[in-house]
Amino acid sequence: MAIADIEFDAKLEKIVYQRPASLDDVHTHYCPGCTHGTAHRLVAEVLDELELRERTILVASVGCSVFAYNYFNVDACEAPHGRAPAMATGIKRVNPDNIVFTYQGDGDLASIGMGEIVHAASRGEQITVIFINNAIYGMTGGQMAPTTLIGQKTTSSPLGRTLEMAGEPIRIAELLAPLPGVAYSVRRSLHDARHVLQAKKAITAAFQAQLQGLGFSIVELLSSCPTNWGMTPAEALRWVEEHMVAYYPLGDYKVHDALQRARGRRG
């Protein structure tokens, strides 16, 4: 009797998805529906899949993700606001065999930390930056960020951001891409399952850039902030799709040749 002819009574299942091991078994403080959680999950999945957990050092930053070091199961430190790329530089330069990544929000990276991120990128530091762009300052209660859209109301732009007061929002993935030291600079979004899966591929490529010593890698992730936007989690994701993607186009702004060859295609 061939195996194919046997009728099985019991159901054999496989696990299609389970929580990654690189995430610690704690409940996060993030708001319901906050895409920080999704981004954490994706990074943790990539660390699991590339088997990097035990070599990895995280530099957490200041913002809602200030306690990221409680959530990732890796060695981690806490940087002053904006300084994570500099701390990461110090760590990686002395410990080139460790995988070093920073996890930063838009205030941390694009406001106070602008000097540090540009220079780390320009020097081609072999670090990976996960950049959460939710167009607002979450932790401090919803103030304007350099990435807040024109007309967007926040607690420090109560009548809506104007060009005269604050200029145009800053597009980080595009800003850093031209620097020769940057091996990988892309923007993805977390607003639905399809985009979440694409984001994961980008995060994988970013860590591969570091593994291969190609230079600085950054993945900008369009994210939501339901609480400070005053929306439900689902409404907030739709707002990302309908408003943020238009101003912050998704795409690859810099992809090192070595990464392109590995993937066989661009994008």
Binding site: R53, E54, R55, T56, I57, V59, A60, V66, F67, Y69, N70, N73, V74, D75, A76, C77, E78, A79, P80, R83, A86, M87, A88, T89, G90, I91, R93, V94, N95, N98, G115, E116, H119, R123
Partner: protein
């Protein structure tokens, strides 16, 4: 090792290299830039980490990052750059990572000038930055001492998981003197168990200065204060010259102490009972020894000589009590006092009768310039 003619900044840098410094991150600023430049040559030669950062803000954070991984790391700067680094110092103090910082002090406040001063005393001794903490502060007064204290700095930093400052002034940084360098120490092989090295086969290490709850934060501070008490109990250093029978004791550190030393030597030749007390650790400050000296039968007065408006002066007065006469002679703006003027000030003290004791003490405080 034979003596060589060495520039202060270079000597400090080379001493650090020989003490096993594994990483240096800094930024050019006069009058300490030669330190950075020497590191730029030596560290890559030895396969160690060197980077001229984009700013002092970035530099101190690179130091912070490297320090979390348990390596010997240092930076150097001068007054305005030290101000920029203070954020980093506070974080390092709170998260208890070791590091060595060299401050070659210059005229201030503000951009000031590039001449020597001792105007950062408050800044470096009273706190590392915001919050309750004190780095260990070592003050050399010769190039040789700068070398020796730099080596000591790394050991103390590691021993206590704390910041150690070596504060010189522009004179010491720039001057050239014969001095002996120590032999090359190997870079430590292993890392401390608190260091971030990758959570391989062990629970992860977290390095942070955040304690959200009041009780947690207080406990963390109690631990830090306990550490500071241990440092105070064990690490005070000072030098004394002819203080036992001195009627007037000069208290000075760094270059001011060298100038005062000359004045004291000259006055002693004339038979005047004068001595010199030179704190080497500005923090922990040698309060008890000063108090003891004030209780000596012979001793009638102190005179503090500084290149600032009277900063260590306050620590001296606190050590001996407000009733004991503590006079002051200070120059600011990068002016280095000369032995002659210090001599005159001391002579004037010998001419005082007791009625004028309190008056002189009052005039000496609050930053009034004296010629």
């Amino acid at each position: 090792m034979p003596k060589q003619l060495l520039k202060g900044n270079v000597a400090i840098a080379e001493a650090a290299v020989r003490a096993g410094c594994q990483a240096y991150f800094g930024y050019p600023i006069t009058p300490q830039t030669e330190l950075l430049e020497h590191m730029a040559l030596r560290m890559p030669e030895l396969g160690r980490a060197f980077l001229q950062a984009e700013s002092e803000v970035a530099a101190v954070n690179m130091v912070y990052g490297a320090a979390t991984t348990g390596v010997r790391v240092m930076t150097s700067s001068s007054s305005p750059g030290i101000s920029l680094m203070q954020e980093g110092f506070s974080y390092m103090a709170g998260s208890e990572v070791p590091a060595v910082v060299v401050d070659v002090m210059r005229g201030g406040p503000g951009l000031g000038n590039i001449l020597p001063s001792q105007g950062d005393y408050f800044q470096v001794t009273k706190s590392a930055g915001h919050g309750d903490f004190h780095p260990i502060v070592l003050a050399p007064s010769t190039v040789q001492e700068a070398i020796d204290l730099t080596v000591l700095a790394f050991d103390l930093a590691e021993k206590y998981r704390t910041l150690v400052f070596v504060v010189a002034d522009g004179t010491i940084g720039q001057m050239m003197e014969p001095a002996e360098l120590p032999p090359m120490q190997p870079v430590p092989e292993s890392r401390p168990d608190w260091a971030l090295t990758g959570a391989r086969g062990r629970p992860r290490n977290i390095n942070t200065s955040i304690y959200l709850g009041a009780r947690e934060m207080e406990e963390a501070n109690i631990r830090l204060q306990e550490k500071l008490r241990r440092i105070t109990a064990n690490e005070i250093r000072y030098a004394e010259q002819e203080v036992d029978d001195a009627e007037v004791i000069v208290v000075a550190f760094g270059t001011a102490a060298r100038v005062a030393q000359t004045a004291v030597q000259r006055l002693r030749k004339e038979g005047l009972p004068v001595g010199l007390f030179r704190p080497i650790t500005l923090w922990p400050f040698p309060e008890e020894r000063l108090a003891q000296l004030s209780e000596q039968e012979a001793t009638k007065r102190f005179i503090v000589v500084e290149m600032n408006a009277g900063q260590m002066l306050l620590d001296v007065r606190a050590s001996v009590g407000r009733k004991f006469p503590v006079h002051f002679h200070g120059r600011m703006g990068g002016v280095v006092p000369l032995p002659n003027e210090v001599e005159e000030e001391i002579r004037a003290l010998f001419a005082l009768d007791d009625n004028h004791k309190m008056q002189m003490t009052m005039e000496g405080s609050n930053g009034n310039r004296r010629h």
